[in-house]
Symmetry: C2
Subunit: 238 residues, 2 copies
DNA sequence: CCCCGAAAGTTAACGGTGTTAGCAATTGCT
DNA sequence: AGCAATTGCTAACACCGTTAACTTTCGGGG
């Protein structure tokens, strides 16, 4: 029970983790190639050359599997965003934020099914326990954007409203507690939520195909909106 | 074949229409009470005291039924918006638009499942023929907002960008053709799309529960955004 | 008025789904 | 070497959409 702590259940864990990963990989492939309705326990098992009940050794059920897939996608998106940010290491935060937002749109358009799984509905099938896995990975994603906004705020360019609704303050404080690192001003969190809402709308409406009726190429609208957002954040550079 | 045009197949049609309506009513109830995953052919038939194959006399399949339900919900939403507008008949268009936007949010929050069906859809079940029924009813809904923006534009308050992207112009012209009544300036359509995108983001992010992590009561944020939108539309009154 | 044919609704069946129970086999650790 | 945990299987149940073939109902034209 005590010795061999380093390799403790070493091989077991390794092969198990690989199985967990392969399940997610297969589910992801089905999601991409055949849409959200195709990511099914039986289909995943079939692809992997096993049977559906076997998957229950790895995930408690379909819901849990989807949730794990969701988490991994949040992580992938977060990585894509940080990569985009670090592709311009010397740039000022405004420019970096711009690139991050562009990367969000790019990722959404390149992976519409994945984006839909993350942001379309609370869940495809009506049920999510309110505060669970999505929290952690979701924050790792949102944190990338929030962090850049904090940097912008440090430069004194953001001028958030000073008259925050009292009801908000209590809630924003709760959000702040969830964040690691140095405390973030409440006003910045307010600005973050407002800007994120706007960014979400712009990207989602396009990725969900709700603009197909009007525009074949909504990029100009996106860039215009991006200008607007960054202007609101006090970023003058373009 | 020719005579009795007024009551032509009179009773038949009436009872059939009532059946069509009852199916939609039942599906709606299941959607509301048990979520989107519960609106099922068999469940609807069960609720109505019949069997699933019987429904095929009324709808070609599950997809068609959902599409019909979607259309009826678009109509209901459009009616709710026009009602909200007409509740302030003497108000200037800016005020009316404000009330319409508020009603949109109110409706979305009061009917989250319905809202999800209308606006989170293209994904969920992998299949929607791109340009079909949703067009008509969808426009009846969007037209309410567009119409008010046209009125605002007539007052000369909207100052849209004069340098429209050339690629846009062709597409916006197509949109304009879909609209009945007098021709709408392309710039107004541009502003409509931009504002609708923003409005959608604000309402959807809240209705889909993506703000639960941060705010219990996002109404102040919504009102702030609404102010912003209407200011952008040149409406000074509050 | 009656009868016919269209419309409505039924049962049976096929293939798909998530999920559970129980059993067999592999395999790492002591 | 043997124990026990882990893994995967088959069988089964309850759902789902959809089709085929049959029966019943009933409005309207002769």
């Amino acid at each position: 029970m005590s010795s061999t702590a380093g390799t403790r259940t070493g091989r077991r864990h390794r092969v198990r983790d690989e199985a967990l990963a392969e399940i997610l990989r297969t589910g992801r492939r089905l999601l991409v190639e055949e849409g959200p309705g195709a990511v099914t326990l039986r289909a995943i098992a079939r692809e992997m050359g096993m049977t559906a009940p076997g998957l229950y050794r790895y995930y408690a059920g379909h819901r849990d599997l989807i949730q794990a897939l969701t988490s991994s996608l949040y992580d992938e998106l977060a990585t894509a965003l940080t990569d985009a940010r670090d592709r311009h290491p010397a740039a000022e935060p405004g420019r970096q934020l711009r690139e991050v937002c562009r990367e969000l749109r790019h990722w959404a358009l390149a992976h519409p099914n994945e984006f839909g799984l993350l942001f379309a509905k609370p869940v495809t099938d009506a049920d999510t326990t309110p505060g669970t896995v999505a929290h952690d990975s979701g924050w790792r994603f949102g944190g990338v954007i929030l962090e850049l906004m904090v940097q912008l705020w440090r430069r004194g360019t953001i001028h958030p409203p000073t008259d925050l609704d009292p009801a908000w303050v209590r809630q924003l404080e709760e959000v702040r507690e969830h964040l690691s690192g140095e405390p973030v001003p409440l006003e910045v969190i307010y600005v973050f939520v407002a800007c994120w809402t706007r960014l979400y709308g712009t990207v989602a409406v396009e990725a969900f195909g709700h603009l197909d009726f009007a525009l074949a190429d909504p990029e100009p609208l996106f860039e215009h909106t991006l200008d607007d957002i960054l202007t609101a954040l006090g970023d003058t550079a373009r």
